[in-house]
Symmetry: C2
Subunit: 199 residues, 2 copies
């Protein structure tokens, strides 16, 4: 009863995600945002307490989605190649389903105040660790090649799934599953033609 209507706040967050991703956080004014929602600048503050609160909410929401997508996978008893493929699918799906907030997440986290900034940095480390463990597991179990540099391999995988925010277009011919399938297959089997394997 004393709380403002919930949907309105979500509308504000959605509009903010879109504007922040298109123009950047600092280049978006509160009046721009209010205009999108058909209200005056000052009226926003009936629903939120500050501009930075919006950024924090957007970034936290994105973090949580990555977290939830990946960490339910952590304990599952899958061979490393299948697990990598599934992790890439889930990771790309989060990006694809949240193009705006993913873009904000990747571009604007540097503008957060120290506490929120530290939280994001921590999240990044956790995701890194997830992929490194996954690759280590694969090497240990003999699914991946023995000589792999764990860190570099993780960077390569992360490049593929993260960079999708720059080129992926939702609603196109390829779903997140297709992209992940193709990327994972190329990564696992390599681009090189098999050396004339005529039996």
């Amino acid at each position: 009863m004393t709380e403002p209507a919930k949907p309105r706040r979500e509308q504000i967050l959605d509009s903010a995600s879109r504007l922040f991703s298109e123009r950047g956080y600092h280049a978006t004014s509160m009046r721009d945002l209010a205009g999108e929602l058909g209200m005056q600048g000052g009226s926003l503050y009936a629903h939120i307490s500050s501009k930075e609160e919006l950024l924090i909410d957007i970034v936290n929401q994105a973090s949580r989605q990555f977290d939830e997508a990946l960490f339910t996978l952590r304990g599952e008893p899958l061979p490393a190649d299948a697990k990598l493929k599934e992790a890439m699918f889930r990771h790309i799906r989060v990006v694809a389903d949240n193009m705006d907030s993913a873009t904000v997440f990747f571009h604007e986290w540097k503008h957060l105040s120290p506490e929120a900034y530290a939280r994001v940095t921590g999240w990044r480390d956790t995701i890194d660790a997830f992929y490194r463990e996954l690759i280590e597991q694969g090497v240990r179990e003999g699914v991946f090649r023995p000589g792999l540099d764990i860190k570099m391999t993780a960077y390569l995988v992360l490049s593929a799934v993260n960079w999708a925010y720059t080129w992926y277009r939702p609603g196109g011919a390829l779903g997140p599953r297709d992209v992940a399938e193709q990327f994972a297959e190329m990564l696992l089997s390599g681009l090189r033609a098999a050396p004339a394997a005529t039996p």
Copy 2:
């Protein structure tokens, strides 16, 4: 004689690259920039004509570097796998040698005015085309697997070389050559262990 000293302008561009990459274009004020160089805000305009001119210069300079690095490779008579490896090396080297302007290039190009914006978009397309041709060549010559999706393969390669701007640290143990070598080798040969190839 009527021109302002050249080095000063380069100092301004260097500082601007650093500040724009750390804080973002819109979050950096001309007074911040002037302060870095030990002068007053208004004094900058003895050397430059506008803030956007700085952004345009930084982005153009980055574009030119990518261009020069890759397009001298275009006609060279190398097998596709060697050419891919060399292209990745040069691409990563440009990123590594210009971490600040590369970051500005990837993050701030959306804030350019229409003409400069169109130029950057055009550049992106050209680089895309370069990698697609390279991969097509490889498939045609039988160096790469026949079934490869050209577009997706190019995206995968571009992910690896572009995303380096987020994690690479110049002066560390790995030079651009090492990174490219490792990434290219993983991409070409795949992560999967060979299926028990005891002869």
